[in-house]
């Protein structure tokens, strides 16, 4: 076991689209410890606030890896 604690916030890309939704954001639990070795924050269930589904306005799957600047529907401050 390791003493280093990884939180969900650590796993969220800083430039992720603000429309990206996940349970841990809503529960204000991004500071909770990640117990396993997942690469991405939360439970792996992501949605777009604009569609309220796992598929974005561009008909592609929502994921913190993908919902970044450059995606046509990106709605962040750099858009």
């Amino acid at each position: 076991m390791t003493d280093r604690i990884t939180t969900h916030q650590d796993l969220l890309p800083k430039d992720a689209c603000p429309q990206l939704g996940m349970k841990h954001l809503l529960a204000h639990a991004m500071g909770e410890r990640v117990f396993d070795q997942r690469q991405w924050p939360g439970d792996g269930f992501y949605w777009c606030n604009r569609t309220c589904t796992c598929v974005g306005p561009d008909d592609e799957i929502v994921h913190p890896r993908e919902c970044r600047p450059g995606r046509p529907c990106y709605d962040g401050p750099q858009a």
Binding site: M1, Q19, G21, M22, K23, H24, L25, L26, A27, H28, A29, G31, E32, R33, F35, D36, Q37, R38, W40, D43, G44, F45, Y46, W47, N49, R50, T51, C52, T53, C54, V55, D59, I61, V62, H63
Partner: protein
């Protein structure tokens, strides 16, 4: 920002459990925020907290007076329904809504997909209608023309690209990648095991399905939703209505009563968007609630899992090597199948970063479900460890006591084993050739759920009225776990009155900001704000009483239904007459935690006894005991209800629940409660739980999460009991009669 108060030293921890070794009390220095209530601690004497208070809304729920989203009705209300894809994978090539729009009684017809959009599973939403009756809405759905280009599909995640090869016993046959440390430790181990464990997809089955009622007044929208996140879905719906220029402030979400939510109700969903759009187009209120088949097929699930482990024990029963790789059986997003396991047993064992891969299939995506990734991982790992211990001739309890790094759980193991009668039951022998055999098993649990302050900080409004009644209000939802009761108990404790004098209201976004109910954080996040609001309101009342009685304000307390000093006081009702025509109103704030408290993880363990009919393969769980901590136990009956409910859900997961897909059509074959079996009253064992209250000292209250932790251990404990009864492990959930009979045949062979 005002400076914090001076640091104070408080005792934290817990007194020895019967059978536990000793008191676990530490002194801890904490620094409360300015204006916050003094922190409760291990020596605090409570009047209401921790007692058997009844659920404040229990009578309303039991009598049908509680109004859920489903129960909202308005004049001119239309009924909404969704047209869903009949194919599992392809593209929408044509969508004609005109015929449906022309039908009598139809108020609105909207597209939810555009021509050219992908269709990703059977049940994917394509269009929606609202009509005066459900029958007319069905007619309207039938009048819609939707055509598709069908593509090759796969709805069996274990056949997905990247899935491991399995043998006839469902064991992974692909070789492990080499790891020197693990190989050497395995070579030197006294006993070793390499085994694969599997779980199936479990669908969400809350009593109240997803959906809601939407009602527009100009550009103002009121929505009654079955949701776990009032403030979250409010923002989502505003985003989804962005093209209509609807600001978030125009949207009010109501969820005063929610008929269950286990992780699938964080997002408004296509049904939430559809009901708002339909109501806007129809210029009439619309109700759109999913039916049970839609609930099974479109609202997410606990994904399946394949988990392979190899490991070894030394001569002292310590784990010296452990290796893990797993696969999550997911839907079309190919995500959400992550699995956790109890790493607190591993000590100094040779191990490495666990390997995990999610597998995609053309089905409804995974969603969080009560302790995501945990019941499946604990089932696999706890059964693996029991098999290892058995091979070494070690009792499962001894194995846990020798390997579990958590001191708190060590005490819980001893206490629970004594209460359950572990030694006697474990030593009991089944008669040779007996038709019915019994066995006992145990398993551990862990969770986080320490709560947070929120951003902006969560709040609570507390009002003391001149008639003596008290209000506590939160905009967060009570999804059935009992937030309103927690509000009443904490407010009553702070003000020295019975909880029946507190009217607790939750679930309207017009009230103060609160969290979504996820990760077992609602109570730990809101409890300090509830208490702070009551503390501030009480402070105002104490000032009035001090002036009235002419006594020093700092000596005035609210206690035992009185307000005053030891020498002079007023009964609560009399004191409240000093309030004047308008109530005292205070806004409590959720301050940041002091830092890490007595513990960072919630602990628990469960014990199960099963009886198996070796002729039919039927498993009956006869008895279960749960020992569970959650920081401060605020309302004992409510807390026990969480643990008992989790054990019931564990019985269902261990023995019954399994989504069955038809590979040819891509459809779910058992999308109803007739064929998708969940545990009923006749399946339930004698259930007992012991709440282990711990003063964490991480904020003014010290509550931790409870919704999810007790659901981690249940299926694992049952599977271990089945292993004990049969003498051979059933490594695949649910443990249905066919698997039991196969295991017995294998043992005999």
């Amino acid at each position: 920002m005002k400076p914090p108060q001076d640091p104070v030293e408080i005792p934290v921890g817990y007194r020895a459990l019967p059978g536990g070794s000793t008191d676990r009390i530490q002194q801890r220095k904490v620094t409360p925020a300015d204006g916050d209530a003094p922190p409760w601690h291990a020596d605090t004497k409570f009047t209401v907290v921790g007692t058997d208070v009844d659920r404040v809304d229990g009578l309303n729920k039991a009598s049908g007076r509680a109004k859920y989203a489903y129960d909202q009705n308005f004049p001119g209300l239309l009924q909404g329904m969704i047209l869903r894809s009949p194919i599992p994978r392809g593209k929408l090539t044509r969508l004609d809504l005109d015929a449906a729009r022309g039908l009598p009684g139809v108020g609105a017809v909207i597209a939810l997909k555009k021509v050219g959009n992908k269709v990703r599973f059977v049940g994917d939403a394509v269009a929606a209608v609202a009509a005066t009756t459900l029958d007319l809405a069905r007619d309207a759905l039938a009048a819609i023309t939707a055509e598709y280009d069908r593509e090759e599909h796969n709805v069996d995640w274990s056949l997905a690209e990247g899935a491991p090869q399995l043998d006839q016993d469902q064991q992974i046959v692909d070789a492990w990648s080499a790891h020197d440390g693990i190989e050497q430790a395995l070579a030197a181990a006294k006993v070793t095991l390499d085994a694969t464990y599997r779980t199936e997809v479990q669908t969400h089955s809350p009593l109240e399905p997803h959906g809601g009622v939407a009602k527009w007044d100009g550009d103002d929208l009121d929505v009654w939703l079955s949701t776990q996140a009032t403030f979250g879905v409010r923002g989502q719906l505003a985003s989804a209505m962005k093209e209509n220029g609807i600001p978030v402030g125009n949207v009010t979400v109501h969820a005063e009563f929610v008929g269950g939510g286990f992780g699938a109700k964080f997002v408004a969903g296509i049904e939430g968007v559809a009901v708002c759009r339909l109501a806007r187009e129809a210029k009439a209120p619309v109700k759109l609630m999913l039916d049970r088949h839609e609930e099974h097929t479109t609202t997410g699930n606990r994904p399946g899992a394949l988990m392979q482990m190899r490991g070894g024990l030394d001569a002292d029963g310590r784990i010296v090597a452990f290796d893990w790789r797993s696969f999550g059986g997911c839907g079309f997003t190919g995500g959400g199948g992550g699995i956790a396991y109890p790493d607190y047993y591993l000590g100094k064992a040779q191990s490495r970063e666990p390997s995990h891969q999610d597998l995609a299939a053309d089905t409804d995506p995974a969603r969080p479900m009560r302790a995501p990734g945990h019941p499946q991982g604990w089932f696999g790992a706890e059964l693996f460890f029991d098999e290892l211990a058995h091979a070494a001739g070690i009792d499962p309890l001894t194995f846990r006591l020798d390997n579990d790094a958590e001191t708190t759980r060590q005490d819980q193991w001893r206490f629970g084993a004594d209460r359950f009668g572990w030694q006697q039951l474990r030593a009991r022998q089944n008669a040779p050739g007996a038709r019915f055999v019994r066995g006992v098993g145990l398993a551990s649990a862990r969770w986080g759920g320490m709560g947070s302050a929120g951003r902006p900080a969560f709040g609570i409004t507390c009002r003391i009225h001149p008639d003596g009644s008290v209000e506590s209000r939160s905009g967060a939802q009570d999804l059935g776990t009992g937030l309103k009761t927690v509000m009443a108990v904490l407010t009553a404790e702070e003000l020295g009155i019975p909880p029946t004098m507190v009217k607790a209201t939750a679930g309207h976004t017009s009230d103060p900001n609160g969290p979504a109910s996820g990760g077992s954080t609602t109570t730990p996040s809101l409890a300090p704000a509830i208490r702070h609001a009551a503390f501030l309101a009480g402070q105002q009342l104490r000032e009035l009483v001090a002036q009235h009685l002419g006594v020093p304000q700092q000596e005035v307390v609210c206690k035992d239904g009185k307000v005053g000093t030891a020498a002079r006081s007023l009964p609560w009702q009399q004191a409240c007459k000093l309030v004047g025509p308008n109530p005292i109103e205070a806004h409590g704030t959720r301050f940041n935690n002091f830092g890490r408290g007595f513990m960072a993880s919630v602990c628990g363990c469960q014990f199960a006894e099963v009886e198996i009919d070796t002729w039919t393969g039927l498993v009956a769980v006869k008895r279960m005991l749960g020992v569970q901590d959650c920081g401060l136990v605020i309302a004992k009956k409510l807390a026990e209800s969480q643990v008992l409910g989790a054990m019931i859900q564990g019985v269902s997961y261990a023995l019954h629940e399994q989504r069955r897909m038809d590979q040819r059509s891509g459809r779910m074959l058992n999308g109803d409660f007739l064929r998708y079996k969940i545990a009923g009253s006749e399946d339930l064992p004698e259930l007992e739980c012991h709440m282990h209250s711990i003063a964490i000292g991480h904020n003014s209250v010290g509550a931790a999460g409870l919704g999810e932790p007790p659901s981690v251990a249940a299926a694992a404990a049952i599977a271990n009991a089945v292993f004990h009864a049969l003498g051979i492990a059933v490594r695949h959930l649910p443990i249905t009669p066919d698997k039991v009979l196969n295991a017995l045949a294998k043992k005999k062979a």
